[in-house]
């Protein structure tokens, strides 16, 4: 199951070029990685989002697999229906192939409006993988705050103004919340860590039950960053321990990348225009608050993870 770049290069692209996602879009990169990691037949259900409108605008499609968009908040509920149909038709002998199921949604369709449908589908134990392409705001509708938006970030509904310096709340720790569902496989990753991401997709698709991968992915429009920095910023997210790479396999927490030289969070903040106001002197307490939270979470994670 090891990811071999030479082998991957020979595989057919199931997520094809020609779609309309931005140049430098982290989500486009992760979609490609996910679809290259998949082995065998798969059905995808996608929530309303940037990658939806950019990859499936009639009469075009970028998808070479059976694919369905239903609504914004119900990608996991939709795939649960498809998976139930598969079980029924397989039992009746109408389908003989092994088919896998993936639902995908952004942080809006996963953390917020789609949370109920996801939580329900996970609890019911459908065999599917949910992938969250998490760029920490509602980018498709023009950069509004979400439950994944970090403290201090400027979005159009948590703007940095004269009085209020961006979002006033911490993001919720959705990966831990999903892990609390006690499903067989939960993980965090980024498309910069392509081998980690693809390995996790393959692992997730082999478990007998629901699985979840939270992928931090860059959006240079919303993050106000340079297009060329898309992947480097994701690397910094991990190296500052802002977004640790870990997985929870059957309840066992495991760190996938031990950060030896932990960078200060300001390195992650600096290249992103959404945090520009945090560089001001008067906002240094917010930076300190972010750093403190990251340190606490990192320690908590290390304590949870079993030694290799």
């Amino acid at each position: 199951m090891a990811i071999n770049l030479k082998e991957i290069a020979k595989k057919e692209e199931l997520f094809t070029p020609g779609h309309r996602l931005c140049a430098g879009c982290g989500t486009a990169v992760l979609m490609r990685q996910v679809m290259l990691a998949v082995e065998g037949p798969v059905v995808v259900s996608m929530a309303t989002s940037c990658p939806f409108v950019s990859t499936a605008t009639y009469p075009y499609t970028a998808w070479k697999v059976p694919w369905i968009h239903n609504a914004f908040e119900n990608a996991p509920a939709t795939i649960s229906g498809v998976e139930a149909a598969y079980k029924a038709l397989r039992k009746r002998g109408k389908i003989t192939q092994e088919i896998k199921f993936i639902s995908m949604a952004g942080d809006g369709g996963t953390y917020d409006i789609g949370f109920q449908a996801l939580s329900g589908a996970l609890e019911r134990g459908h065999r599917f993988l949910h992938i969250c392409y998490n760029n920490e705001a509602y980018m498709n509708t023009g950069i509004q705050r979400s439950g994944a938006t970090p403290l201090g970030a400027h979005t159009t509904t948590s703007p940095a103004g004269k009085l209020i310096p961006g979002k006033r709340e911490f993001r919720k720790d959705l990966t831990a919340i999903i892990a609390a569902h006690d499903i067989p496989y939960v993980a965090q990753t980024t498309p910069f860590h392509w081998r980690d991401l693809m390995t996790k997709v393959q692992k997730a698709l082999t478990v007998d039950g629901p699985s979840f991968i939270n992928v931090l992915t860059s959006c240079h429009r919303g993050w106000r960053s340079d297009i060329k920095d898309a992947m480097q910023i994701l690397r910094l997210a991990v190296d500052t321990c802002y977004w640790p790479l870990y997985e929870v396999v059957n309840g066992k927490w495991r760190l996938n990348y031990k950060v030896r030289n932990k960078l200060p969070v300001i390195e992650w903040i600096k290249p992103q225009g959404r945090f520009a106001h945090l560089l001001k002197e008067e906002n240094q307490p917010i930076v300190a608050q972010i750093q403190q939270k990251i340190d606490e979470n990192w320690e908590k994670l290390l304590a949870r993870c079993v030694a290799d």
Partner: protein, 395 residues
């Protein structure tokens, strides 16, 4: 051999679902549908029914899952009421415009507020423009028969549209009635296998479903849907005729009761047609030419046929268990008025619209008797003073 049974409306619907044998049944319990969701779960638990039962966390997910299952290539069903139907509202036009074949039992219940668990038609009437076929049922027998026919209609390759089948909450859903059930095998043969058009599970022929369509293509998608719904009327009648051969019970777009030579008519849906028939019988004995038109197929709306059936009456009252607040009248009244506007016929009755039976308020012989008396009074005056009124309301 047909089986004689004593069942509630919910039992009858559950029995129909057992015989239909959906591949997937996804439901969230809500009063007064709960008993149906429970009974189907029990059938599955007892091994009587081989169905993937998805015990969803909400109605939003029951409809989402049914859409996914139907488009995956499975026979998918659900059931709901009131707030539950409202909660899945967003998905109703999606189920229809994606041309799924979902069949849904709706146990009509009032909308809040004030909270009320009893019968009004607010829920399904509100959903009338969602692009679904809508069938209405007077009693448990009709609910059972309509559900079986609905599956055949929804899955027909010339239709491919979802169908909701309605019955009155509590009045029918919880009242025990005598009815005739078909043999399991007969239902199975009548329905045959679902043959989906482009199923998601046909992985060797991948399709993209639910794409985004911008101003350049959206209109054509909607026009196709609109035409499919209008044309479905022929198939609905075709299925009714086939079903009549199978069951001995005939169904049409609407039921005409003493209507051919009637002067005074009531148009009504669902259970209150029963009490209205009793009043018609009584009035006929007294020499009053009373009649009833009970709508079964409300979407697609059989406009021309209803105009034909009502045009020679003197006065008609459209009785509705819902209010289209601030509108010209309630939904059926507005539709029938529009149908007469569109029709070439010059003959048309005087027409009034009464809202009745809200939130389960009982409608009795006296209430319906008063309506027919009003219609006769209107005829004597030769004009309508008030075309819209609430019956039974305390002033």
């Amino acid at each position: 051999m047909a089986r004689l049974a004593a069942l509630t409306g919910n039992n009858a619907a559950a029995e129909a679902i057992r015989q239909i044998k959906p591949d997937v049944f996804a439901a969230y319990p809500i009063t007064p549908q709960t008993e149906m969701a429970e009974e189907v779960a029990q059938f599955v638990a007892d091994g009587i029914l081989d169905t993937e039962y998805i015990p969803v966390e909400s109605e939003h997910s029951s409809m989402s899952a049914c859409i996914g299952a139907s488009l995956a290539g499975a026979r998918a069903m659900t059931a709901t009421a009131s707030c539950g139907l409202a909660y899945m509202w967003e998905l109703l036009p999606i189920a229809a415009s994606l041309r799924s074949s979902v069949v849904m039992a709706v146990v009509n219940r009032a909308f809040n507020a004030p909270l009320n668990i009893h019968c009004s038609h607010d829920d399904s009437m509100g959903a009338r423009d969602s692009g679904w076929i809508q069938l209405y049922s007077e009693n448990a027998q009709e609910m059972y028969d309509n559900l079986i026919q609905a599956v055949k209609i929804a899955e027909d390759e010339t239709v491919r549209l979802p169908v909701m089948v309605c019955m009155d909450g509590f009045i029918i859903s919880h009242a025990v009635e005598r009815l005739l059930l078909l043999e399991d095998k007969k239902v199975k043969n009548f329905l045959g296998e679902f043959k989906p058009a482009y199923p998601l599970l046909e992985v060797n022929n991948p399709v993209t479903l639910g794409a985004c369509a911008l101003p350049d293509y959206y209109t054509e998608h909607k026009k196709q849907h609109s035409e499919a719904l209008r044309h479905s009327i022929d198939k609905i009648m075709g299925v009714a005729n086939e079903y009549a051969k199978l069951s001995g019970r005939s169904y049409s777009l609407f039921e005409s009761y003493q209507l051919a030579d009637a002067e005074y008519g009531i148009v009504i849906l669902n259970s209150a047609a029963g009490v209205t028939k009793a009043v018609v019988d009584k009035l006929r004995k007294e020499g009053v030419k009373a009649g009833l038109l009970k709508i079964r197929v409300y979407r697609p709306f059989p406009a021309a046929q209803i105009v034909q059936a009502l045009k020679n009456l003197k006065v008609v009252a459209v009785l509705e268990r819902t209010d289209s607040f601030g509108g010209v009248g309630s939904p059926v009244f507005t539709d029938i008025s529009a149908a007469f506007m569109e029709a070439s016929t010059k003959e048309k009755p005087l027409m009034v619209n009464y809202v009745y039976g809200l939130g389960g308020r009982d409608v009795g012989l006296e209430d319906i008797g008063k309506v027919y008396a009003n219609l006769q009074a209107i005829n004597q005056r030769g004009k309508i003073e008030k075309s819209f009124a609430y019956l039974q309301a305390r002033e």
